[in-house]
């Protein structure tokens, strides 16, 4: 008997870790800070000086960030690197710097200097170039709603599949394959759903995505409830409906199996 319980516990932990891996891939992609970059532009042809916007520099004007491309786990990624540099002087809102400072150490490739970023940058943050796209809040809410919708039925399905998984140990292959398929569907759905999510970085907290406090005061601040109250209501109703339906289904098939077994 103990073997069975250990095997199910092991599978549960395995599934949990797999979901975490998939989720963390998506979280990392979502949490990339959107930036606008600019390259050092020469004033006239022969002068040694170049101009970059003042906003590139931090408060005490001692350094700026540039986007450096490096090879990550899943293809190339942009990372923020700090560079020491002091502006020679500042016109209205452009800073004058030595031309070579705008280039990387080999002096050939111009640096993508970060002029505008959604959150204050730190060394090593992942970046993504900001493309201005129109954000359809309603669609986001719907995706979020259906993501939460599939959570409960998904978990119930997984619990059932973990039980079926233990039959695999007793050697019946059919149960094993079936539970593998369920896990595959679960991970695929999470991956694709969170993939469609496209929330602009300003609405997400600075560096800790589960920062509930940030979300609450964001809703109060933007008074989201008034604008999108109606859609929110519809989604909550659907989610409630789906959850209730799945609980009913589970209850029903339990009683059915019990009656079949007692016959």
């Amino acid at each position: 008997m103990a073997k069975k319980r250990v095997w199910t516990a092991g599978c549960a932990v395995l599934i949990l870790l797999l979901t975490c891996t998939v989720l963390s891939m998506r979280v990392e992609k979502m949490m990339r800070i959107e930036v606008e970059t600019v390259t050092a532009v020469k004033e006239e042809q022969d002068s040694e000086l170049a101009k970059i916007p003042i906003s590139c520099y931090n408060e005490d004007k001692s350094s700026f960030f540039y986007a450096h491309e490096r090879k990550g786990l899943f293809g190339a990624e942009l990372v923020a690197v700090k560079k020491e540099s002091y502006p020679i002087d500042e016109e209205e809102e452009m800073a004058l710097i030595v031309y070579t400072e705008g280039f990387d150490s080999t002096g050939m490739k111009p640096l993508k200097i970060v002029s505008q970023s959604s959150w204050p940058l730190e060394e090593g943050d992942l970046l993504v170039l900001k493309e201005d796209r129109e954000v359809d809040v309603v669609k986001q809410i719907q995706i979020l709603a259906c993501f939460t919708a599939i959570l409960l039925p998904g978990i119930l399905l997984l619990v059932r599949c973990v039980k079926r998984f233990s039959d695999l140990r007793d050697g019946n292959w059919k149960a094993g394959i079936e539970s593998f398929i369920i896990i595959g569907i679960w991970l695929g759905s999470i991956f694709s759903l969170t993939g469609k999510l496209d929330i602009p970085r300003e609405y997400l907290p600075p560096e800790y995505i589960l920062d509930i406090g940030f979300y609450i005061n964001e809703i109060q601040e933007f008074k989201l409830l008034e604008y999108y109250g109606r859609e929110l209501l519809i989604c909550i109703v659907c989610v409630g409906f789906i959850w209730f339906g799945s609980i009913l289904a589970v209850f029903f098939c339990c009683t059915y199996r019990k009656s079949r077994k007692s016959k």
């Binding site: 250990v6 092991g10 975490c20 963390s24 786990l73 995505i209 589960l210």
Partner: protein, 259 residues
């Protein structure tokens, strides 16, 4: 009198448990405790599990590698172990002594010749460089030879009467009889290959391919929290193996063979 004896023994094992569980408790504290001022914070768990897939991908890679090495080595050790213990072939004694001796060579010595050999075989910069030398390590063979030597020969002769070939003998007689040893070997080799640090650094090119153990061996003080979480991550498979094979490890010969 018996009750005092039992109390003495229970106290003794409580101390033993405290000493042995100290590392786990210590790691739990390290992963949560962020210094006197910061107090408790679950940030390192968030960093490892949710913030970026880096650690988890490394964990899967390390897990896959260690499982492959342990499985491969256990299977080969069973075959070679029976050959050394029960059968005879040319120079068996010399092989055994040489194998036992070569387990002792320290890592700095074997690193360079392995590098030269793997470069000639073209294994460098791929997982093969770590796994295949691990599979053929003599540790499992030498140990299982000592274990199988104690099994009585009558069982083998009985099996041979039913015309069982060598592999069937191993599968049905020798492996069930020494299940505690084989499970322990599997877990020991798993832990051994989990702590591999020098080989990946030398044999693999990019930093991204390194398994989790290279990160765990780093001494950067600021990442103690994350290292403790990864250490706990590693405890999961080992604990799972032990719990799963608990009956074999504790009940010994009698139950496993005849059940």
């Amino acid at each position: 009198m018996v009750r005092i004896k039992r109390q003495k023994r229970v106290i003794f094992f409580l101390i033993l448990a405290a000493v042995l569980f100290f590392p786990v408790i210590y790691m739990l504290i390290c992963s949560v405790w962020k210094g006197v001022d910061a107090g408790l914070s679950f940030m390192s768990y968030y960093d490892v599990f949710l913030e970026s897939p880096g650690y988890l991908v490394k964990f899967w890679r390390s897990l896959g590698m260690c499982l492959l090495i342990s499985a491969g080595q256990t299977v080969l050790a069973c075959m070679a172990g029976t050959a050394f213990a029960k059968y005879s072939f040319i120079g068996k004694k010399i092989w055994l002594v040489v194998m036992a001796l070569f387990m002792v060579l320290p890592i700095q010595v074997t690193l360079l010749p392995n590098y030269i050999l793997l470069e000639k075989l073209g294994f460098l910069n791929s997982w093969k460089a770590l796994i295949i030398p691990g599979i053929f390590s003599p540790f499992g063979t030498v140990w299982l030879t000592f274990i199988f030597r104690s099994l009585p020969n009558e069982w083998l002769d009985a099996a041979r009467l039913d015309r069982a070939n060598q592999l069937q003998i191993i599968r049905y007689i020798i492996v069930p009889a020494s299940k505690p040893a084989i499970v322990t070997l599997f877990v020991l080799v798993f832990v051994e290959s989990w702590n591999m640090v020098e080989q990946p650094v030398i044999f693999l090119e990019e930093q991204l391919d390194y398994p989790l153990s290279v990160f765990l061996a780093g001494v950067a003080q600021n990442s103690i929290g994350i290292q403790s979480v990864c250490g706990l991550l590693c405890l999961l498979p080992v604990t799972f193996f032990f719990l799963y094979y608990h009956t074999e490890l504790t009940d010994g010969l009698r139950d496993t063979l005849w059940s």
